[in-house]
Symmetry: C2
Subunit: 227 residues, 2 copies
């Protein structure tokens, strides 16, 4: 995220934020829960979109792939995130679980209707849409302007901002190097070398391929925002 915006974004905003107990109950009455095992799909690109989804537990990944087979990972999703909100007739991306996940499905039509009756819910959806766009604009900025190791810091910063406590220095990466490469517009080799560079420079420590420790958060943030 860019420094210019962080102050007025609450990434923890969910559709439930600020609702009364009664309003929550009305929203909950629409919800059905669903488990998605690691590696399984929540939905596929080009299938009809009839629900929005809220990730309750676990971690998911949103990707788009083209006819020629290459793919771009658009986002990694954390508990509380709303999925498929900028709906059209069909989903425009595929969402799959990186970890065993629990998802709330909310049928589109009643969800829209409820927004008309609960202004706070409508505001939440609006804000969340804004957050999604802002996230995507950050990604455009990163892909357009940053070098490989800066992009990796950009990702690490995003992931660590979802950690329960900001002081947690240990990060569990649920995704593969290929997922990271496809998110950052790089190859796995370049991602690997970028990790190596950050380790050599004492900014992170790599315990295993999927466990990194942030040693110098200030420098990491600086690199993440560099452009």
């Amino acid at each position: 995220m860019s420094p210019e915006r962080n102050q007025d974004v609450d990434p923890r905003l969910t559709i439930y934020s600020g609702l009364s107990a009664n309003e929550r109950a009305r929203l909950d009455s629409l919800v059905t829960r669903r488990r998605v095992e690691a590696g399984a799909y929540l939905f596929h690109q080009h299938t009809p979109a009839r629900s929005v989804h809220m990730l309750e537990e676990g971690m998911m990944m949103m990707e788009r792939s083209s006819s020629t087979g290459r793919r771009q990972v658009m986002a990694f999703m954390h508990p509380g995130n709303l999925i498929g909100i900028n709906y059209r007739e069909h989903y425009e991306f595929t969402v799959s679980a990186l970890r065993p996940s629990l998802v709330r499905d909310i049928p589109l039509k009643p969800f829209i209707a409820l927004q008309d009756e609960v202004p706070q819910l409508k505001d939440n959806v609006r804000s969340i849409s804004g957050n999604i766009l802002a996230h995507t604009l950050d990604q455009v900025f990163a892909l357009g302007q940053k070098k490989a190791h800066e992009r990796v810091c950009f990702l690490l910063k995003q992931l660590s901002s979802w950690q329960p406590s900001a002081s947690a220095h240990r990060l569990e990466l649920a995704m593969t190097r290929q997922d990271i490469a496809d998110y950052l517009g790089l190859t796995i080799e370049t991602v690997s070398r970028a990790f190596g560079k950050l380790k050599r420079e004492g900014i992170i420590n790599i315990h295993s391929a999927h466990t990194v420790e942030i040693l110098d958060r200030a420098t990491m943030n600086e690199l993440a925002l560099a452009d």
Copy 2:
């Protein structure tokens, strides 16, 4: 734009689409018109957002710049486009005119209120928000996966899709090479070389720096979508 989506996107959708005469009049009653001369600003990053804007005539450019001075152009805007719709407290980008432009300002609060009374308007805004996100995702795809000359084709394809007739082969580029470079995440030199390469290969002809002719649209489209 990706081929997967083109069928269900109408880029000409505006907030007025499908409104009755009466509804149009109610919307128009909120509107004030404003001229913005070429090079002037519609609004700046970090200023309070109190209106949305619809470009009526001309061409504008949306950009974001960072504290370290580098900038990313997020979009080039054409007549009918809605500007500043994913509002927050403050604008997150700067919008300026590339050509003398005419803009409709619509105060935010009554605009939101009117959406509650005119469902078609609400649907239009929703769809337009979706189009904006889709456009941004396309840009992520382009910056993440495409080579320089493919990115240039990506831009040419976008611009030509706004031409009045699809068969018009002559394109007027209102923006500078620097604007193009900042949009595509390249340098002006690389953009210039990419144009040269496309010309050498007979895909385009360059009459002047700001006038290109599309000679082989099929190949251009293919390159634009390549990934």
